[in-house]
Structures are given as C-alpha cells and as structure tokens.
C-alpha cells in the first residue's frame, strides 16, 4: 500500500508526516524518560536519537522518490487541476513530495537539540 505503489493515495500522502510525528514523539519521550530515570545515559540517548533520525530520513527519502515518480518526474507544471486521473496522480505525487521535504527538515530540526544537550536540567 505504501511502497511500490503504482498510484499515489492518501496513505502514501500521510506516511511522511506520520514518520515525522513518530520521530518527534520518540525524541521527546525518550529524552524525558532518560532524564527522569537515568541521566547518566545521555550518550546512549544521543545514539538512539541519531539511529531514529537516520531511519526516519531513509523512509522519507524513499517515499519522496516514489512521490517524484508519481508526479511524473515533473513532466508538467502545477496546478494539476483538471479532472483527469493523470492530474489527480500528479497532484498527489507533488503534494507528497513537498510533504516529504517538510518532514525531512522537521526531523532534522527535531533531532538537533540532541547534538547540543549537555545535561539534564535539575
């Protein structure tokens, strides 16, 4: 349904922002738990967030490549607003691609504090 899909659908559209949401939740929930229960494990937390970030970015890049294909590799310019199957596909493809770009940036921004955090605040 999500990958190797011939045509885009709402699931392929929603997948990249969902990955962003899950990554965001993971960073903050893991940070909260580590700081409350095991503040000395800050380096392990950093590694876990790095791994989650790479995983999320890989997923988003793959989804973006698929969306690029659904868009027809930019064969025609937006707005894709005529009532044809092709335009519907191109519209969903382009929207998904833009959401992929947004999600990728958001995932990177969300992970950045992990690089700089020096201690758990008392």
């Amino acid at each position: 349904m999500l990958f190797r899909s011939e045509t885009p659908n709402l699931w392929t559209l929603l997948a990249p922002p969902t990955v962003w949401a899950l990554h965001f939740l993971f960073c903050y929930v893991a940070g909260a738990i580590i700081c409350a229960k095991a503040p000395e494990a800050l380096d392990e937390l950093r590694l876990a967030i790095a791994a989650a970030t790479i995983l999320a970015l890989v997923f988003i890049v793959v989804a973006g490549m698929q969306a690029h294909r659904h868009w027809g590799f930019g064969s025609d310019m937006p707005p894709h607003d005529t009532p044809t199957d092709e335009d519907q596909q191109h519209f969903l493809g382009l929207a998904t691609m833009l959401l992929c770009a947004l999600s990728a940036v958001a995932v990177i921004f969300g992970a950045m504090p992990a690089l700089f955090i020096a201690e758990c605040m008392r």
């Binding site: 310019m77 770009a101 950045m112 504090p113 700089f116 955090i117 020096a118």
Partner: protein, 307 residues
Amino acid sequence: MLLGACSGPQSALDPAGREASEVALLFWVMLVGAAIIWLVVIGAAMFGGKWQKQPLSERAGLRIVLYGGAVIPTIVLAALLVFGLRLMPMLRAGEPELRITMSGEQYWWRVTYAAPDGSKVESANELRLPAGRAAEITLDSVDVIHSFWIPSLAGKMDMIPGRTNRLVLHPERTGIYRGVCAEFCGRSHAFMAFPVVVMEPAAFEAWLAREAAPALSKADNGAFLANGCGGCHTVRGTQATGSIGPDLTHFADRQSIGAGILPNTPDNRRRFIAETETLKPGVRMPSFGALPPAELGAIAAYLGSLE
C-alpha cells in the same frame, strides 16, 4: 530619547555578564539578518515593479518561489537554530563558586546566600555578586508565578511555586544593575524589583562576612519592637525574629527600599513606613501613618542605623 533603552542599569543591549552578551549577540545577528532579508525582498519587488519589463517564464518563477520561499528560509532557520541551541548549554556551564537562593513573594525577594563555611545568610530585596565568578541562583516562589530577570546579566527565568529552577550567572563588569519581576504577579507587580550590585571578589567576600554578622546598631529599637515590626521582620541579634516580611538586619547597607522602588534615604524610609499601601498597593504590610511622628521618626532612624 530613542537610544534611552540602549544603555543603563537595566538594558539587555548593554550587557555586563556572559549570558547577556550572548543574548545581545544573538539579537544583533537576527537584527542584521532581518534587515538584509528585508532589503533583498523589497529590492526584488522594486526591481520587478520598475525595471523588469518582460514577464519571467513559469519555470523561472517557480524556481524563485522554491529557492526564495523554501530553500533559503530553511537554511537560515537551520543556522539560527544551531546558533541558539549552541548557546543553551553554555548558559549553565561551569561549577558555580557561589550558591544563592531567591524566592519570589508578593511583592519582594527573599535572598539566601550560602556562605563559604556552609551557613546560610538571609537577606532581602538586593542581590550582590562577585565579578568574574559563576553564581548559581536557585529560584522558587511561595505564592504565584514570578519571573527573575536581570537584563544586564542574563535572560529571564520563571519562579514557580512548587518547582525549583536554576540559573547560572557570570557577571563580568562591576556596577549596579536592576533586576525585575518579569511575570505579572498582582497589583504591585511593577513595584517588584531589586538592585544588583556586582562587586570585586574581595569586596564581595568582605561584604558577605559583614552581612552574615548580627546587626550592629547603637540606635534605640524601642519604637520598632513596641509597634510589632519584629512580628514580621527579622533583625538578627535582636528580639525581632519574624519571617513573614523581608529581613532587615543590614538594612542601611541596601541601595533601595520597598523592593527597588525608592532610594534608601531617611525621608523615603519614613515615607515607606507611613504610606506603605499607597506606595505599594496590595502589599501585606499595613501603612503605619497613624503612628505619632516621633515614633515614625524613631523607627526610620533605627532602620537607618542598621549597618
């Protein structure tokens, strides 16, 4: 007039501490950056409106939207994020050489220094710090949310009932600055301030030793005790041991009275006792204006002798 807020005892643009310097630098970077972006955008609009006679191709237009609207803003925001995140751990860095607890109460500040020998030194409504040394301020509140802000030294930090916050200050330049409550806390919120005296380390140590000692006063404290002042205020070394209001042990040493609202002069001391509720609406201390002038004078003189 326009530059009135750019220097002086309460300006984030005239930093006297490490944290405030970083905040001021961040402000200038953002201001200059915003000015450049504004010039580019307005310049492009003027160019498009005045000189560019041929419409751009759709592809070129989309490219401008993509780069100008998405790619460049993302890069700028990422750079600012890195800049800001880099500042945060630095603001708490270093093992503090001095620990102070400040508690917000409507509408004054309880200040407790940890002396080198481990004992606690109670004071109020004034903060003294040694220049060039890190001081950790532990912040809490007993009633409502207050916020502790010394613009010349650092950013602000909330004082929240039931929670202890921590702020590390690195004052660098000696001088007298002004701290304020930066979270609306009631009728006299605007009258809740305090002077911050940054001293040479040796002078600070001498001051702290003096502050730790009991009050030395040759003046008569009969009127002060007879009118019940000691029920709320402490003057160490006397029978006045109240803890509801600010400690007054070395009151004459302080820069201001009423939590930063008036200079500490004989006239103002007398006025504050007589017109407390007028000068500071909502305060818990009643006005003692009904006292005979001689008694008022005696209390004010006693306070002025507490060195």
